[in-house]
Amino acid sequence: MRLLRTLLFRLVSTAVTLVGVAVIVFVVIRIVPGNPIAMMLPPGATPEDIALLTAHYGLDKSIPEQFFIWAGGVLQGDFGTSITARQPVLTLVLGRLPATLELSIMALVIAVILGGAAALTGTRERGTKIEAGIDVTNGMALSIPDFLWGLILILLFGVAWPLFHISGRVTPSLDLPFTTDFYLFESVIRLRFDIWADIVSHMFLPALALAIPLAAIIGQLLKQSLKETMHFDYVTLARTKGYGETRVITREALPNAVLPTLTLVGVQFTFLIGGTVIIERLFSYQGLGNMAIDAVINRDLPLIQGIVILFAVIFTVVNLVVDLTYALLNPRLRHA
């Protein structure tokens, strides 16, 4: 009942957020310099040609008028047609979404594994040189942004020791027998581990570049939270029952320490998705972010709008999932 009310409230607030995002993007991309018509016509086009094309795309109308035409279409599932690709925006965007989702989720998994390992080891070895070493590594990981990590990784594992692919999502010569665009997921389902290995080899470096700063945040926050939890009486009581340090940390402290970290990870994960824009460009990874940059360069207004709305939807969904997980993990909230 309570959960239902929460969900309903979230849905309404999500709708309000999306409308806000739509208005802002719609207006901003129309008042900044540069327009798509100028990009499409060859030098020396006559004013008549320009006027004709402007009218064709409806750009001669006022901004509010354009907005309501566009919004009317969106409500019927029509996000307009990309000016450069001349295909429906929805088809283009949904075609790229799986690539970005797979990359982000892989980055999140790497970040949780690395950050979790750092936090658990640091807690176990608290007060020693090992903890100091982990703190220093964390600090370094955090102070270098994801796109610089991307460059460093390209230089290290693409150029100096070419262990991984550094460009694209999959080797183009491979014959892909897939029906969806979730290549990584589908290759596992179809047991095509040859293709899976190729995809992972392409995704690993960009995912790692995105993951490193997040891993550092998770490591630092979770370690702090674990160390505080280690002082609680129930942890001491577990020691007197005969449990060793590792068991005490993972079973008594971790479930209680993980909650404050979770909220922050949700927020940071949305930043990570934002980071895909540059990282995908860097690794020529065919995802939403790469498409967004192309769309901005070409002033492909309908496509920009579509991509931004989709990013906004992803952000709100991530936040919703985090809130639900939080309620699920915390017995005090679950029973309230």
Binding site: G127, F232, D233, Y234, T236, L237, A238, R239, T240, K241, G242, Y243, G244, R247, E252, P255, N256, L329, N330, P331, R332, H335
Partner: protein, 290 residues
Amino acid sequence: MSFLSISNLSVRIAGTTTRLLRDVALSVSPGEVHGLVGESGAGKSMIGKAVLGILPRSVEIISGQIELDGTDLLTLPPAEHRRRIGQSCALIPQDPMTALNPSRRIGPQITDRLVDILGWNRAKARERAVELLHEVHIPDPDRILRSYPHELSGGMRQRILIASAFAAEPKLIIADEPTTALDVTVQKQILKLIKEMQERHNTALLFVTHDLGVVSKICQSLSVLYGGLVVEATDVHGFFRAPSHAYSRALLAATPKYTDPEASLTPVPDAVITEVNAQVDAVDREWRGG
């Protein structure tokens, strides 16, 4: 034959010469309740922590023996120390509100030691948990075992912690001011329950408290601590009839009389503090000299 026998135990703040326990010696036999009495900071809880191996990292043991059933725990590797404690000792903690893990159900918190350390199967451990909850007079054990700590009252939680302490039939239980954090009305019941359980299981009990009234009700013998030094160790009858140390007498005189609520409280006189401080200093001088 005593089950726990501590001798010559000294503990200091790591890296300093400040001793928190000064050559402590005491022993507890099966079925015996031994009280550890003293003011805050006298080192009463420190003794229990040293036995259980849960001293804070900032504190180190510098000398002494802690013999459990004839084996000196301090000569054992840490993992073996931990295993022996888990098998034969248990702690009843001070504050039931913080001593249960808020994210775990009650059942596993009572039975985890039986399954993980003593190798019982889960079904048998669960039966044992139900039996224990009956023993500590908790109705509807099935529901309680499935509950989370936040669903239960402080008194209820302390009963559960007592049940958990007795789960593995320990030979020694250390109760660290187990009633201090409770309501006065609940205190009495919990004290009665601990006594009842201890007698039924014939357990050796080390009872840490600052309340001499509690000592007179539950203990057979006691050690009075001041500044980490045992200033008097005796049986309870002798103590309450004629305490031999001046500090003990002052402590006894400072106990509020419930029969005369109007009477003003008697603090421990300065002269006694000076005397006992001098005694602590003398012990330290001897320790440094030797």
